[in-house]
Assembly symmetry: C2
Homo-oligomer: 211 residues x 2
């Protein structure tokens, strides 16, 4: 991790993508993978893979490839996914429910320990994962007691900033926001705004050129 402070954000995002096929390869007991094969599995070019991994020192063996277990372990260490994280969900509509029950999250150590909604017909309901939906006016108390590190927001846009502020005031260090508004956070907190429509606009841009 000799150059870690200079790692560009797109490399960090690609590292997460590289880890996906590596996990499958580890499960199927494949010991080694070439940069060409890994690139193909991830839909990027091999030079990109080699460049991204070079940020973290010399992994591969020329003409042989990368040791799958070592590479995956190193990526997980870099991304800090070699530990568990505590999360809470604000907004238990279809999207919130889908994310809280997501097996992929659980498998990667992202554990939802609380779920909130302001709809009285949802409050008190027990989810398949065993959590009970709590009222949003108890966010502060739960976040502090359960030491929640990451808050996920799937509320309507006009409520999102207020809940983000409440989460941060209660000690959350990062927010993943799915409400269709850009959330502003102070320097001390990280935020990722996820807008599905942006992904569709990327697609539309590319296919409009070929239609």
């Amino acid at each position: 991790m000799n150059k870690e402070s200079k790692i560009p954000a797109p490399t960090i995002e690609r590292l997460a993508y590289y880890s996906r096929p590596l996990e499958s390869l580890l499960n199927s007991e494949t010991p080694v993978i070439s940069s060409e094969k890994l690139a193909h599995l991830c839909g990027v070019n091999p030079a990109q893979v080699r460049k991204d991994l070079a940020y973290f020192g010399e992994f591969g063996v020329r003409g042989v490839g990368y040791n799958v277990r070592d590479l995956l372990w190193e990526i997980k260490k870099i991304l800090a996914t070699d530990r568990d994280w505590t999360l809470c969900m604000v907004g238990m509509g279809n999207l919130g429910s889908a994310i809280v029950e997501n097996e992929n999250f659980k498998k990667r150590g992202y554990k939802f320990v609380a779920a909130f909604d302001s709809d009285p017909t949802k409050i008190g309901r027990t989810l398949p994962c065993g959590l009970i939906i709590e009222p949003t006016n108890r966010i502060g108390e739960f976040v502090r007691d359960l030491k929640v590190e990451i808050g996920v927001i799937t509320t309507r846009p006009h409520e999102a900033q207020r809940f983000a502020d409440l989460l941060m005031d209660s000690g959350v260090k990062a927010i993943l926001n799915f409400a269709s508004i850009q959330i502003r956070t102070p320097e001390c907190c990280e935020v990722e705004n996820v807008d599905f429509a942006v992904k569709l606009e990327n697609l539309a841009y590319h296919i409009a050129k070929i239609l």
Copy 2:
């Protein structure tokens, strides 16, 4: 659009993000915005905004800013969001339902015209938007008849590639994939793989450094 062929993918993605506050400003009848203000609203730096917009020619007036209506219109033209798109959804669990009913998608001209699932208990159910859930074995027929342009997949990972192939064989030009597997597509089709856990891993990377 003098340099359009060289526009980097991150710029395209940021254009979509820039359009969000511009829409609000247009609705509130704000005629002009500075690059500083737009950058602040989008959480990027002003130099980035100016650089991104410079790909498309000279928009702004030095010391004054950008005309909100013109800039939004130009971005929509570039992103091809000045027209409607027809979409179908494969997989009507919580996530599929959340996306099909998403008001933000509808507002931006992304219209779901069909929804599919292979679960017999879901097939035939009428959704709040009026669509009826159809069996996945009718995907080809519906996609051809309704001229579906973009397919969205929210199935379990092991089924995703098969449905992607079926969608593409039936004439879909682009796929937005939420299943936690990288979908491979031929050159003729665009694909965006969306993996929420990647966003969490980005957050984890950043907050692990400050904890």
